[in-house]
């Protein structure tokens, strides 16, 4: 687990775009797939919002197959406006990303947006870190105490596009450390029950 005091503030060009569609919205619903982060709670406490922490990292950090039905057990009528995926996909095998996508899709609407990190290249491993929202333009990155640990399944852009079928890649940018930052928009067909 990362030492609490060690972190890096990382500016993001894509992060503001994540919030843009919801500027005039009365209330937003946010999924954070990480463990509860003080900064993220602090940031969103300024808005009318529902913030859900799923902590998939701990669910993926086991020898057994992740039970996404349990990890993503949200109330049926939940529809996330914003999904903070951080780098969680890099902890999932190909099959797990597909399963994750299938389980997340029912909780998205056609304007849902997501944000996350993948790998620019498989030859550049992604160091284990934890993330939080500092400001609408900055992300807090907390490196693991053991700075040599890397995410087990770094996924490049083409894999993310094909495996994460509930989203389409809207924008991406390359970051230091071999990471690819991406902005996602949901691929959800509006049904009569959503109207």
């Amino acid at each position: 687990m990362a030492a609490a005091s060690q972190f890096v503030l990382e500016s993001s060009d894509l992060f503001p775009l994540l919030f843009e569609p919801f500027v005039n919205q009365e209330r937003i619903t946010v999924l954070d797939v990480g463990p509860g982060s003080p900064e993220t709670v602090n940031y969103f406490s300024q808005f009318r919002c529902r913030l859900m922490f799923a902590d998939l990292y701990s669910g993926l950090n086991t020898q057994t197959e992740p039970d996404f039905e349990d990890l993503l057990a949200f109330p049926e009528d939940t529809r996330f406006d914003i999904c903070l995926l951080w780098d969680v996909l890099n902890y999932m095998s190909v099959d797990e990303v597909v399963a994750f996508s299938a389980h997340l899709q029912p909780f998205l609407h056609e304007n849902s947006h997501g944000h996350g990190y993948g790998a620019f290249s498989r030859s550049k491993p992604i160091l284990v870190s934890r993330y939080g929202v500092a400001t609408s333009r900055e992300v807090i990155v907390r490196p693991d105490v053991d700075s040599t640990l890397t995410a087990p399944h770094p996924h490049v852009q083409a894999e993310i596009s094909s495996l994460l079928s509930c989203f389409s890649l809207k924008r991406r940018t390359l970051l230091q450390g071999g990471r690819l930052e991406f902005l996602l928009q949901a691929l959800v067909t509006r049904t009569s029950s959503d109207a």
Binding site: A4, V23, P35, V41, Q46, F47, F53, D55, A134, R137
Partner: protein
């Protein structure tokens, strides 16, 4: 202090008055957070006490023991101490969690999950503070406009935000 609802059908047990006692407690930590409305006096459920049932009342409460059921002290403050374990829905004016809670927590004014706090459940409050090191899994419903001192209800997420104190005090950038 307690609402003794005896109902054998629901499995609730008697809540005896002995375990709960008024005492002068060191509330320095709490007063820093302006936790108590009546500093120095709170009801305490001690470390070795286990209560199953519904807790209601009109005074602040510190839980250092184990509570299963509901805690409903809307006008008062509840602190779950480091040794406290609560498997219950908790409603209070301010809820401070230093121990473990499995259940839904509603703070009329505020909910604070401290660095030693562990919560699995849904939190509803106008303002929620999660301290560094706190373990939280669940949802947080926040509506600053519900609080008298709350921020504008419809601030835009796009607005440049105040950085966390920890960030502004650090040179790690």
């Amino acid at each position: 202090m307690f609402d003794k609802r005896k109902s054998g059908d629901t499995g609730e047990t008697d809540v005896r008055p002995e375990p709960v006692h008024k005492t002068e407690v060191p509330l320095a930590k709490l007063s820093e957070q302006r936790f108590t409305q009546h500093p120095g006096v709170s009801a305490v459920i001690g470390k070795t006490i286990k209560i199953t049932g519904d807790i209601t009342g009109d005074e602040d409460l510190i839980i250092e023991g184990r509570v299963e059921g509901t805690v409903d002290l809307k006008s008062n403050n509840v602190m779950i101490g480091e040794s406290g374990y609560v498997q219950a829905d908790v409603t209070a004016n301010v809820v401070r969690i230093d121990g473990e809670v499995k259940g839904d927590v509603k703070g009329i004014e505020k909910v604070i999950i401290s660095k030693s706090g562990r919560v699995r459940g849904n939190v509803t409050a106008p303002r929620v503070t999660l301290e560094d090191g706190a373990k939280f899994q669940g949802s947080i419903d926040m509506d600053p406009s519900d609080s008298a001192k709350g921020m504008p209800a419809k601030a835009s997420p796009h607005t440049p935000m105040i950085k966390p104190a920890e960030v502004s005090n650090s040179a790690n950038k």
